[in-house]
Structures are given as C-alpha cells and as structure tokens.
C-alpha cells in the first residue's frame, strides 16, 4: 500500500475541485516498485589511460505498477496521473500510509505518459485497468 498527495488540476474526478490537494491510495503490485536510477557523471580518459570523473549527482527513478482496479474506480487515478503529468512535485510513499509514512519523498513524474492496460476479468467480463508510471526524486 502506498499513497500520494497531489493537487488536482485536470481530468477532475466527480466531486473533486480544481487546485485542491487530495490524498490518493496507491496499491502497488509486489514487484511494482522498481528502482531504475543512474549516476550523473562524465568521464575523460587520456591517451595514457588516466581517467578523470565529473560526478554531478544521481537520478533516483522508480517504475510504479499498480494493482488493476475496476474501470469505474479509475477516475481518481486518471485525475492524479493527469494532474501530475506536468511535472508537479508531489509527495509519495510507496510503502507507508499518511499516518505512518515509511519512505515519504517528494517526486515528480518521469515517464513520457502513464501506461494504462485493460483487462477483462472473470465470467462476467469485469473490465479492470492496470496503471503504471515513473517517478523521480525531485
């Protein structure tokens, strides 16, 4: 279980008000929190093999995959993803809760667009949607 605080701005869910901060629970799959960070550095190597390194920092990026949810419950997630797509920094904790944060951090979206995958589940053909997105430590 994870969560995020964000400011709703576009694709508002029913009863949501623009420019209002909302908390959204994020149910992350078991392997849905993958670290894909990298170091920001350059290297030079002289003819004789001497290496100099310029280290500027590191990028901490996670790929988040949420458990599928029923389509009718997806409005809030779509609002969250649309509102944070513009680089809005938001508070994110992949493991804790607002009351008991475990790894709270400020992040921004790093993907080029959230993924949204449709499933048909069960005998009755329930339509389930699985969302995925990337966040980068701001």
């Amino acid at each position: 279980m994870g969560w995020a605080f964000y400011i709703a701005r576009v694709d508002l869910a029913p009863s949501h008000v623009a420019e209002t901060t909302y908390e959204i629970p994020l149910v992350i799959t078991g392997d849905g929190f993958q670290f894909i960070g990298k170091d920001l550095k350059t290297k030079q190597k002289s003819i004789s093999g001497v290496v100099e390194t310029n280290y500027f920092g590191r990028e901490r990026i996670w790929r988040i995959t949420l458990e599928p949810i029923q389509e009718q419950e997806a409005a809030v997630l779509r609002e969250f993803l649309a509102s944070t797509a513009d680089g809005q920094p938001f508070t994110f904790d992949a493991r804790g809760t607002p009351d008991m944060p475990l790894a709270e951090m400020t992040v921004v979206r790093d993907d080029e667009g959230a993924s949204e995958e449709l499933f048909i589940k069960g005998l009755y053909g329930e339509r389930m949607i699985q969302f995925g997105f990337d966040v980068r430590e701001a």
């Binding site: 350059t42 030079q44 190597k45 002289s46 003819i47 004789s48 001497v50 290496v51 100099e52 390194t53 310029n54 280290y55 500027f56 920092g57 680089g87």
Partner: protein, 1179 residues
C-alpha cells in the same frame, strides 16, 4: 594560466570531481543566481536552485597575423522550474524596466561542499540571445569585446554662417555645441601641451582654441599640411546648404595609451578625457590598465609619451566599429593582442614570439591529452612577402607611403607567399621610418616565416586553468605525433593556445594550438650604415671595462673577473664600456650579477666565458608560517616561467592502520613577463638608444608545495625557489664567437627539502620552482655586420627541479605505512612526494627563446608626409638652333604629371636658374633671339587637388651643377655674343671697339658694363647702352676699371664678353677742364646826339680766352638772353664787337651774349658778355 587559490585548485584538479556551477545575471537589484545544484552554501541574491543545466564556454580566438580576435561565447541552459526564471525576468522587465539583453553574466565554478565564496569566477560575458523551448531556456552570451563593436569616430558637423577670408581667426558657424577641444600631451606634434580642437572647412583644416555657441575663435588656418583659403557664403543660401564645417579628429599618442583612451575615454596620467564619440565608453573596471602600462618601454613608457613609438591618426572618421580600429590599427602594429580575462576585463599582451621555443606554462603529454587532432603544416599561413601602406592623408583619403619587403630566406626555403598587405593609418611620416616598419614586421615574421603548425587538442578537465594566449609544450612520443619539420625523435615543441573551449558537463578542455617551426632570419634594416649609434654613445655613462678587466692592446687577459650589475639595465651601474675592438681570450671568465650591459665601440671576439647562472631574480623561500593554504609568489623575470613540485595535504589519518588519505598540494606558478624574447622597437635619438628593456633577469622561482597535516598545520615548508639567471646586453660594432667562447645565463636548480615523518608516513615537501635563465640581447651597431652563429654558444637553461621521494601517481592517494600492506601498487613506498603536475618546469632549454639579436636601426629622420610626387622626366637633351635652344626629353606617363617645368641658367648652377617655360609633352623650344648658352634642368609637376601646394619630381639632370648645356660640344664658345672686344686708353677716356655677330647686327643692343674690380660681372654697372661697334668712354681720371659687353633684346641677354674677368682699361691721361673767360664781360655803346637819325652804336671788342681742355678751340657766339636788334659782329671768333642801329632817340637795346668754346675733344666751356646799347633822348 589562471592562478587558482589552493582550495579551489584541490577540488578543480582532482581526478574525481564533484563540480558545481553558478551563473549570475547582473541586474541593479535582485540579480538572479542560477545554481547547478541546491547544495551550494551561501549563494547570494535571488537564488534559482538547481536549475542550471549545461554551461559551456568558448574563448575568444586570436588570429595573430590578422591582428584580430573572434569574440568568445558562453552558453548555458536552465530548467525553468515552476517558471521561476520566467517570473524573475518578467519582474525585472516590468518592475525595474530592466531587460535581459546585454546583461553581464558571470559563471562561477566550485565543487561539492565548497562555500560559494570559494568559487572561482570563470567567465564574464554579455547576454546576446535567449531561447525558450520545452521548459528550458538557453541563454547565449558573448565576451566583453562585443562591447567594442560600437561605432566610433563619427565627426560632428555644422555649417558656415558667414563668409570668411583666408586670414580670419574667428570662424562663424551655426552651432558649436557638439564640438569639443582635446588636451594634447607631449606626444602631439601639433599644438603639444595645448587644449585645442580642429575642424575641416572645404579642404582646409583649422585649429581653434576657443568657441562661443556660434563661432570658433583663436583659429590657426591651414594646419595639417593644408592651405588657408577664403570661403564665400551667399546670404540667401539656407543655413543647412552652406559650406560644411566638420570636426577633424586627431589623436597622437603611444599605441597602448591611445588604445586605453579609445576604450575608456580616459587619457592616462591626466584628468582629461576624450569626447564621447571618440571612445567606446568601456568601464575602466573592464580594462586591465596594468597590462597597458607594463607592456614594455619600447612600446610605451608611461613616464614619457615621447620615448616610444607614437601613433598619429589624423582625420579619423566613421570607423564601423571600435574593435576593428583597435585590432587593425593598434594591436597588430604593436605586435599585441587583447586577451579577455575571466572577470571580463580586456587586457593587452604581446604576441608570443619564437613560439616553437617559447617558455610554456605546462607540458602536455599523453598523460594529460585526451585526444590530439591532425597536425597541419599551414603552408597557407607562410608570410614572406609584405606590402605596407602607411602615412594616411585624410584630405586625399589615401595612403601616401608604401613599403614593400620580402623575406628571401623564407621565400627560398618555402616559396614566395601570397602578398600580405597591411594598412596602418597611425604610422605617420612625421613619426615613423622604414626601420620602424622592419622592426614591427619582425614580430609577425617570428611566427610566420616558416610554415606554422596547427592542431586541436583535448585535455583533461583538470587543466581548465589554461587560458588563451598561454604557451603549452606538446611533448608526446613519435608514436603519437610525427613531424618532419622538427628534429628527429619525439615531438617536443611549444604551442600557443589560440582558442579554448570548456564543457562543464564533459569536462573537456579543447584547445586550438598554433606553433612555429623555425626561427626567422635576421635582416639589417638598410644597406649603407656602418654604425647607427654615434661614437659618443659609447662611454657616455657607465664604467670603463679597463678599470675592471685587465686589457692589453684590446685583449682581455685570462683570469676570473666579477662584474656587479644592477636591477635595472638602464642604471649606470649596469653599464660597462670599451672604446675599440675587444677580444676576450680563452681563459677569461667573467661572472656577472643582476643585469649587465657591455657597450663596445668596436668588434667583439668572444673566446672566454661569461657566466650569470643564478645571479638574476632571487628565488623565494617559504617561511613555513601563516595559513596552511598560503602561497608565495616568485619573482617574475623577463623570460621563463617557474613552478616547483607539489606538496602534500593530509586529509585523514586512519587511527589503527596509519593510512594517510592525501591530496597533492599545488605549488605556485610564477609567470615571466614574456614567453620569449619579443622583437623590440628600437630607436636612436641623438646619442640615446630608446626602447631597451630595463630588466633581462630570469625568473626567481616560488617555493614548492608544503606538507600540511589533517589539522591544517604546516608540517614542513616547501623548498625554496631557485634564482634566475643574470641578464646580459651587448651593444657592439660586430660580434663573433671564438672557438671557446660561451655565454651562460642559466637559472638555478632546486632540490626537495628533507622529508618529515607524520605518524609513520614519510613525506617530502615540494622542491621549489627552478630559476629561469636570464636573457641575452645582442644589438649590432651597423647593418653591414654579419649575423653571429650562436648555436651551442649561448646557454639559457632553466634549473632542474629535483624532487626526492615517490611522486603520487594521482592527485589524491592513500599513503600506506611500510610494511603494513604488501601490495606494491597501493603502497608505492616511502618517502612520498606530491604529484608531478604538468606545469612543473625543469631543465627546459630557452637558448633560443631567451635570445634576441637585432640590428640597431639607423637614425633616420622622420619626414613630413607628402603627397606622392610625380616621376621625373628623363633623357634631357639641349641643342642650339637658330633663334634659341631646342630641348627634348622622355616624359613620365601622361597621367602622372601636369606639366614639365623648364629651368635655365646662364651658368651651370641651378641656384641661378630661372623658369624658361613649361609644357605638357616631350619637347620645348627656348626662344633666345640673341641665342646663347644655357644650362637646363627640367622637372615634372603635379598641380594637386585639395588646395595643396604643387608636387614636383626630382630634377633631370639630378645634380645642381650638372645642367644640360645647349652647346654641348664646346661649352664656353659663344657665337652670339660680341667678339673682338678691345679697349685702348686715350687722353680723357677709353676707346672701345668690338664686333657683332650676324644676328645681333640685325637686332639687339649692346651693353657695356663697368666695375672697379676684375670680377664678378654680377657687380658691374651699366656704363653705356646702344647700337654701335665702338665707343669712346670719357674719363676724368686714369683709374683702371673692368669692362664687359653683352647683347640684349626683349629681356634676353647673351653671355658676357669676356666670360670671366672683365677687360681692364683706363684713360691714358687726363687734361685740365676746359674753361673760358671774356674780357671785358660788360660792353656799352651810345648812338650820340644830335641827329641826323638813324644812328649806329658799336661797342668795343671783347676777347674770349679759353684755358684747359684740348687745344684746337672753336668759338660760337649766341644770345643767351635778350639781344634783340643787336648784331654779333664776329660770331665764330674769340674776339667780337656788337652793334645796333636806331631811328629814335631814347632807344635801349640789351642782351647777354654767350660764347661757347669747344675744344678738340668736344669739351665745351662758356663765357658770357653783357651788352648795353643806348640812344640819347632829346628830352
């Protein structure tokens, strides 16, 4: 090379760096600071944290042979997080009215953990463009030289208000408000020491000393080689259509001073400024004044504006930009360029001379080089054919003088290059000579006489301290680089950095390198001077060598001598002289200190040794006190940089193992004043040689790096720097090395101090910087002297830096106690030493770079600039023909002259010649009705435009006593003059006779001249004139006088006869003057009474008696007055009576009769008789 503080250098030069960057955009308030990271402490102002993305800078690119530089640039991108930058710029624009354009931008570099106050300023540039895309801004900047791209020298103008004469000293105009007067210093040739202004009216330049709102006063007319004229103004002409009065911009100063004034407006050393439109308005904070004042006394002596080459610009106008003016007109001629420093300031540096051997700031090996581009032999950049246009005429708007010069040594070896033409408006004929040009060209030839080489080189980011204009030595194996232009073996040659770029992200430092391949040949400045310096130059000051050396018959005897010099080469204590040829025997050892100059008025043969090793600038010691990161500069010398070995900074000591985490602690680089001995601008002024450098001593090195503990304690001072070599200057009239002669001016070597032990680690402080060699200046007095062979005879080595201990293989390392860990790689052994920085200078050979041989230019007298004169006519031939002389010649090209003037003289002396006529063509007939010998000279004349005086060619024939005779075959015979001139003395006179030529028998007159002396004829006076072949010239004495004859007609005269001395003549004798008396001289007679009438009255006789004269007298009576009715009875006799007849009594008749007596020589005398006749009246 940038000198970085220790703490910054430690971070910036580390192999593992965590760079940080900050860009400041300068506004009056709330200047934004844009950081690359958000962890930089104490960034001032409005901080935009972590938004800076990619700063990269490209320096200016210097192009020495064109005397210009391309403008450097700096670009950075930033992420507009939360529109912070957009908001900040909008706020500046809307609330402060301050836009981003042309804002000054500063790039600071630092490292993680470094306080912003320790960041180093890396670039200062000006915003030129701003682009936005995808949430990012890209800001592009240009360096400060862009500020120079402003128009300058656009003259202001008004119009003439009223008519003025050529003599008016007040010039009425409509508006003088934009005209300004300028204070002249001593360097001005026109109105020095005065505050004046100039304007142009028509083709006349006028100087004024005062003005009202609508007139100029105190005007001096026709200055700057123009002619004063009157100007008429039609009162009905509208004001803006009247004659234009335009400001005339005139500057005359030493080049560096002039450049500083044009940039800033400030006339150095005074409180005076230039008018606003004469300068670029650069803030003085952005001009490094010390570069200008310290450029060297041959280019500018700030204490004496007249001591160096003075640039003279007259009639400057409409320069498209100040940058081009400064670069092409001043810097190129000075042999300089203007570097842009990291703080944005503009400086002035000499171009690097003798680049292949110049003293480097760093040596680049395979260890520092990331990539090396192609080495190109730049055949296109060979320059050996020069053409210089100079002495600009602002009225004709063209150059008056042209000097061509070919470097045949270069042309023979590499082929003649494309003609390189320079134009120098500031070189004026009043100031400069061909010798000036030759010396200035030498600074270009240093680099371009042989094919230079260029290459691109990328080096490690730790060398981002390199700067444009620095000299680096490329030292790589022949596996990496091969060059047939150099010596065999590995490549080891100095190069100048002409452009540098630095990428903050990649760390790449890309360099454009330029190097020469050979020393240019030396050429004397002209062909015919045995000695440029007068004899009395030698021995005027200083100490006679005879008092300090044992000299027998011009030979210095073997022995060791110690000569003390002086810190200044100009000081008398540094000067030793000898008046004659001087030979130094083998076995002579002369030790010199400081600077020493030998002035030898003769030929020097050098067999002995002259040694000045380590006797120049002192090395500097580290006191071992102060803060751990204190540094101590060395003493900069004339040539040769110096840098010692690094020390060690202990960062951490592991308690149990005793491991030391350490970093190399940089030593101080001491930059010399020159990378190589520059070409000097020498000038002989009377008995003074100007332009000599004042100090040739080599650099004294700075201390080596310290050993500093982890607690910032100084554990050991760095080793002392070595002393530089002494400087030596030799001025002589010829120089040759003997078989055993040598001159050695080496720098002093250094060694590392003893190691210290910290914990269980032994560490050596760095050895001090080695002394660099002193320089040798050989000045040959006389351009017929041969160029001495110096190879192997002059030694100028830097000292060696001998460092004990094992140098760190990296800039940071872990030093291990021995023998705790066996790994030989991690434990290089004890004791340890700092890193071998590429800037360490040890054992370099500057025997070429520290040597300059120049011929002393002959003392030419600068001349006023003149318009180009026409070519002279040639082949004049004169011949006598009937009625005059016929002349023919070969004229110049028809469009090269206006007329040919013909001048004639009766003798072969052009001073006596008068104009005979003028013609456009190749022949002239000189009409001489009497004929006559003439001597002729002709010349071509141009009647110039612009109201100038006429221009004349040389004379033909050239010699003033080489006139072309009209009677070439037998000059001196004069068929047209009177001949057979004789004189015979007679009583009371001289009888002359002569014969006339056929022409003069028909026409003309004869003139007889007389003089009391035998010569000259010119003093004789005309005694007679007429047409005759003989003459009796009366004389009343027998004095001998001298006579000449000549014929004349219509102002034409023949040659006199005799040609030389006059013909002597005198009267043979002189008789008394003729006189006459009548006795009696009063006669009366009466008619009697009484009648018959008429009655006749007769007087008695009177007798005239002559005296003197020449017998053979004749008498002639006549009435002088009255005499009516009276008859002279014997009018032709000496004796006569007078009578009269009357019919009437009371009649009276009166008169005065005169007897004219004439002697045989026609002399006359007079005797008068009064006659009264009366008839008595009857009443």
């Amino acid at each position: 090379m940038r000198a970085d503080p220790i703490q910054f250098a430690l971070a910036n030069e580390a192999r593992s760096r965590r760079p940080r960057a900050v860009v400041q955009i300068e506004f009056d308030v709330a200047s934004p600071y844009i950081t690359s990271h958000d962890d930089i402490p104490n960034v001032p102002g409005d901080v935009l944290q972590g938004m800076l993305q990619r700063p990269s800078a490209i320096s200016q690119r210097i192009i020495p042979d064109e005397g210009r530089s391309e403008i450097g640039s700096f670009t950075f991108t930033l992420v507009d997080k939360a529109q912070a930058f957009t908001i900040a710029m909008r706020s500046q624009l809307q609330t402060q009215g301050a836009g981003l354009r042309r804002r000054r931008v500063r790039l600071y570099l630092g490292a993680e953990g470094m306080d912003f106050s320790d960041f180093q300023l890396f670039q200062t540039q000006i915003v030129t463009r701003c682009l936005y895309s995808g949430g990012r801004y890209e800001v592009r900047c240009s360096d400060i030289t862009r500020e120079l791209q402003q128009e300058v020298f656009r003259p202001v103008s008004t119009t003439l208000r009223d008519s003025v004469s050529a003599f008016a000293d007040i010039i009425p105009v409509y508006d003088t408000s934009r005209f300004h007067m300028v204070a002249h210093g001593t360097s001005y040739s026109d109105a020095p020491g005065q505050t004046v202004g100039y304007f142009r009216l028509g083709e006349e330049i006028i100087r004024y000393t005062g003005k009202t709102s609508d007139s100029f006063s105190g005007c001096t007319r026709g200055v700057h080689n123009t002619v004063a004229k009157g100007y008429a103004v039609d009162p009905v002409t509208p004001p803006d259509k009247r004659p234009k009065v335009e400001e005339f911009i005139y500057l005359e100063m030493p080049g560096p001073k002039l450049a500083y004034a044009v940039m800033t407006g400030i006339i150095y050393g005074t409180a005076n400024v230039l008018p606003d439109h004469w300068h670029l308005g650069i803030d003085t904070a952005f001009v490094r004044l010390s570069d200008f004042t310290g450029i060297g006394p041959d280019l500018w002596d700030p204490t004496d504006d007249t001591a160096a080459l003075v640039f003279r610009f007259v009639g400057l106008k409409q320069q498209s930009e100040g940058k081009a003016f400064l670069e092409k007109e001043i810097y190129l001629l000075l042999g300089c360029y203007s570097p842009v420093y990291s703080d944005g300031a503009l400086g002035l540096r000499r171009r690097v001379a003798l680049i292949s051997d110049a003293s480097p700031v760093a040596t680049l090996t395979e260890r520092e080089i990331v990539s090396l581009g192609e080495l190109e032999h730049r055949y296109d950049l060979v320059h050996n054919d020069f053409r210089i246009l100079w002495a600009y005429d602002p009225i004709a708007e063209d150059f008056i003088r042209e000097t061509g010069w070919i470097d045949w040594d270069s042309a023979d070896a590499h082929g003649k290059s494309k003609l390189l033409t320079y134009q120098f408006r500031g070189l004026d004929g009043q100031r400069a000579t061909d010798a000036t040009l030759a010396q200035r060209l030498d600074s270009i030839r240093d680099a371009y006489a042989a094919p230079p080489q260029t290459t691109d080189c990328t080096v490690l980011g730790s060398l981002n301290r390199l700067e444009v204009g620095d000299v680096v030595r490329l030292s790589v194996s022949s596996d990496v680089l091969r060059d047939f232009a150099g010596s065999a073996g590995d490549y080891n040659r100095s190069h100048e950095i002409q452009q540098k770029s630095y990428d903050f992200l990649s760390g790449d430092v890309a360099l454009e390198l330029f190097g020469s391949t050979a020393r240019p040949g030396l050429f004397p400045p002209s062909d015919s001077v045995n000695a440029s310096l007068p004899d009395d130059f030698y021995g005027a000051i200083g100490t006679p060598l005879t008092s300090v050396l044992t000299i027998v018959d011009g030979i210095v005897q073997a022995g060791t001598y110690n000569l003390t010099g002086h810190a200044s080469l100009a000081n008398a204590a540094a000067i030793y002289y000898y008046l004659g040829d001087l030979t130094f025997l083998d076995g002579v050892i002369i030790n010199i200190t400081e600077n020493v100059m030998f002035q030898i008025r003769g030929f020097v043969t050098k067999n002995g040794d002259l040694v000045g090793t380590g006797d120049g600038q002192a090395g500097v010691s580290d006191p071992g006190t102060g803060a751990w990161d204190d540094t101590f500069a060395g003493n900069p010398g004339f040539i040769g940089n110096s840098r010692g070995w690094d020390g060690i900074r202990v960062d951490e000591v592991a308690g149990i193992t005793g491991f030391h985490k350490v970093r190399t602690l940089p030593a101080e680089l001491t930059k010399a004043k020159n990378d190589a001995f520059p070409s000097l601008e020498l000038r002989v002024d009377g008995s003074t040689l100007l332009g000599l450098p004042t100090d040739l001593r080599g650099t004294g090195g700075a201390p080596g790096g310290r050993i500093v503990s982890q607690n910032d304690s100084v554990l050991a001072a760095g080793g002392a720097g070595g002393a530089g070599g002494a400087g030596f200057c030799l001025i002589c009239r010829g120089f040759a090395y003997g078989a055993s002669g040598s001159i050695t001016l080496n720098g002093e070597s250094t060694t590392a101090p003893a190691f210290i032990t910290n914990g269980n680690i032994q560490m050596h402080p760095g050895a001090g910087g080695a002394g660099s060699p002193g320089s040798f200046l050989l000045l040959l007095d006389g351009n017929q002297l041969s160029f001495p062979i110096m190879a192997g005879k002059f030694s100028a080595l830097t000292g060696t830096v001998t460092q004990s201990g094992n140098a760190m293989v990296d800039r940071s390392s872990t030093l291990t106690p021995n023998p705790v860990i066996a790994d030989p790689i991690a434990r290089p052994g004890n004791p340890h030493a700092g890193y071998a920085d590429p800037a360490v200078i040890s054992g370099h050979d500057y025997s070429n770079a520290a040597l300059r041989i120049q011929y002393i230019p002959e003392p030419q007298v600068p001349e006023d600039d003149e318009d180009a004169t026409p070519p002279a006519p040639a082949d004049l031939v004169a011949s006598h023909v009937q009625g005059g002389n016929s002349l023919t010649w070969t004229p110049p090209a028809s469009d090269a002259y206006t007329v040919i003037e013909v001048w004639a003289s009766i003798d072969n002396n052009r001073e006596n010649a008068t104009s005979a006529g003028e013609v456009k063509g190749s022949a002239y007939f000189h009409q001489l009705p009497l004929g006559g010998l003439r001597y002729y000279w002709i010349r071509a004349r141009i009647d110039p435009e612009f109201g100038r005086l006429p221009l004349y060619s040389e004379w033909e024939p050239a010699g003033p006593t080489d006139g072309e005779s009209s009677n070439i075959e037998a000059p001196g015979e004069h068929g047209e003059k009177p001949v057979d001139f004789t004189a015979v003395g007679k009583a009371n006179g001289i009888k002359f006779s002569w014969a006339l030529p056929s022409v003069s028998k028909m026409i003309g007159f004869v003139e007889l001249f007389e003089h009391t002396s035998v010569s000259p004829f010119a003093s004789a006076t005309l005694a007679w004139s007429g047409y005759a072949v003989g003459l009796f010239l009366q004389k009343t004495d027998t004095t001998t006088r001298y006579y000449w004859l000549r014929l004349t007609r219509s102002g034409e005269v023949s040659v006199v006869e005799p040609v030389g001395d006059g013909l002597a003549a005198a009267a043979s004798s002189v008789t008394a003057a003729l006189a006459a008396t009548a006795v009696p001289d009063n006669l009366s007679a009466g008619g009697g009474f009484p009648p018959p009438n008429p009655k006749t009255a007769v007087t008695g006789s009177t007798v005239v008696t002559p005296t003197g004269g020449t017998p053979g007298y004749t008498y002639a009576w006549a009435w002088l007055t009255g005499g009516t009715g009276i008859t002279i009875d014997s009018p032709a006799s000496a004796t006569t009576t007078f009578r009269g007849t009357s019919f009437f009594d009371g009649t009276r008749m009166d008169g005065v009769a005169r007897c004219t007596v004439t002697d045989s020589l026609s002399a006359t005398a007079y005797a008068d008789v009064t006659v009264h006749l009366g008839w008595t009246s009857i009443l």
